[in-house]
């Protein structure tokens, strides 16, 4: 955090992480859905 001096740098840092999390989330949803419904019949 020492190298963050401006709002711009802060937003860049946090948004970088958030965009990676978004990609992970998009991958996680279908996988978890399959897990959630894995034991259902049919």
């Amino acid at each position: 955090m020492d190298n963050i001096h401006t709002l711009q740098e802060f937003m860049l840092h946090t948004k970088n992480i958030i965009y990676i999390l978004i990609l992970l989330a998009l991958a996680a949803f279908p996988l978890f859905w399959r897990f959630l419904n894995g034991r259902d019949k049919e």
Partner: protein, 390 residues
């Protein structure tokens, strides 16, 4: 190739439509060459004060809004379970896909170094920019639409296995499509959040992203109605019984939905004025124009759709749909061109060069030509005989 019985089909080459389209394409090519040899200065009226013109206002903002039919229709059918509109999915997905493809094509004309368009993702990600969000979603959504459209092409090519694989992804793709559309449709409005000093206060509001998203669903619904009307007229021979009989039902159903959403949009628009206390601007020249947009292109179509639905009058609904689409164009132009830079003196304002208009017309024409090529060959307006409709 000239067979007398097919007057509207692809059989005849020298129809008036083909002639006009041909001329437009030739002109488009010439302007394209000028653009990529002389720079933007040689074909546009863009300036340091007006960096965005028609190619952003129409080709990007209007293009993306009017291509919303894909996600609206597929969501209605696959998520909300309105199976009776199933026949409308394929044409809507196709126009959506073509729409986005053309938006991306148009951007190649507008940006300075088009080959760098992937840079945000592979070289230097400016994640603080709303434009990054737009670019990422448009790129992803174009891919999603391509995959959603591919079953038609795969059926045409007879690749049954691949087609089967893709159709199993339908639900995932539909949900992803709605997520991406929500994001970039709203982000296109959010692009202007950074310019409170340049956009007229009646159009500048923190609700801009919400307005853009809601209007995209209105645009999507209205475009599907218009497209079905046009297809009905010009590709009648290509439509099977399901598409022909579903047309009326679709027009009524989507018309009802559009009317209802327009009412909601009207409400939040009025609240937007109240939230920032902009009432006094309504008495100015810009205010009058704002009222034209609000009453003429939001309240009026909401009412006319309702009348059409109550009377079961397909003609009224179709004309209202066309009017609503025009209203979307007006709204996007207002935000990007008319109310933007409103503080500048008249001589510093922007008006498109005829060659800018030429490129926009050229790109729309390309879209129509490709659409015609595809629907006359692939199972879009009719089900493929080897597969049932569902």
């Amino acid at each position: 190739m000239t067979s007398p019985q097919t007057t509207t089909g692809p059989g005849r080459l020298l129809t008036p439509f083909n002639l006009v389209a041909g001329i437009i394409v030739v002109f488009g090519m010439i302007i394209t060459i000028l653009r990529f040899t002389g720079g933007l200065a040689s074909v546009t009226n863009l300036s340091d004060d007006n960096p965005w013109g028609l190619w952003i206002g129409f080709d990007l903002l209007v293009g993306v809004a009017l291509a919303a039919g894909g996600y609206v229709t597929s969501a209605a059918v696959y998520i909300f379970g309105l199976k009776r509109f199933h026949a409308a999915v394929r044409p809507a997905i196709l126009t959506g896909f073509l729409g986005y493809a053309l938006v991306v094509l148009a951007l190649h004309y507008d940006v300075g170094r088009p080959w760098r368009l992937p840079y945000p993702f592979v070289v230097s990600a400016g994640t603080t920019s709303l434009l990054f969000e737009v670019a990422a979603c448009v790129a992803l959504y174009l891919t999603v639409l391509f995959i959603e459209f591919s079953p038609a092409a795969l059926e045409w090519l007879g690749l049954k296995r691949a087609r089967h694989l893709v159709t199993r992804l339908t639900l995932v793709l539909t949900i992803l499509g709605v997520v991406l559309s929500t994001l970039h449709q709203s982000s296109l409005g959010a692009l202007f959040l950074i310019v409170p000093a340049k956009l007229h206060p009646l159009w500048y509001t923190p609700y801009l992203p919400i307005y853009f998203f809601i209007t995209s669903t209105i645009a999507g619904l209205s475009m599907v109605i218009c497209e079905s009307a046009l297809s009905h007229r010009y590709f009648h021979g290509k439509m099977d019984a399901a598409h022909l009989s579903g047309n009326r039902d679709l027009t009524l159903g989507f018309g009802k939905a559009a009317s209802w959403v327009l009412l909601g949009y009207f409400v939040i628009k009025v609240i937007g004025i109240a939230a920032d206390n902009q009432w006094h601007y309504l008495g100015t020249g810009f205010g009058a124009w704002y009222l034209v947009e609000l009453l003429g292109f939001v309240a009026l179509p909401a009412f006319m759709y309702a009348v059409g639905v109550r009377e079961k009058n397909i003609t009224i609904i179709r004309w209202t749909a066309a009017w609503t689409v025009l209203g979307i164009v007006v709204n996007r132009f207002n935000v990007c061109l008319v109310a933007f830079n409103w503080h500048l003196p008249a001589e510093q304002r922007y008006f498109p060069h005829w060659m800018e208009i030429g490129i926009s017309v050229f790109i729309v024409t390309l879209g129509i030509l490709v659409f015609r090529f595809i629907v006359t060959r692939m199972p879009i307006l009719h089900a493929h005989p080897d597969y049932d409709a569902h």
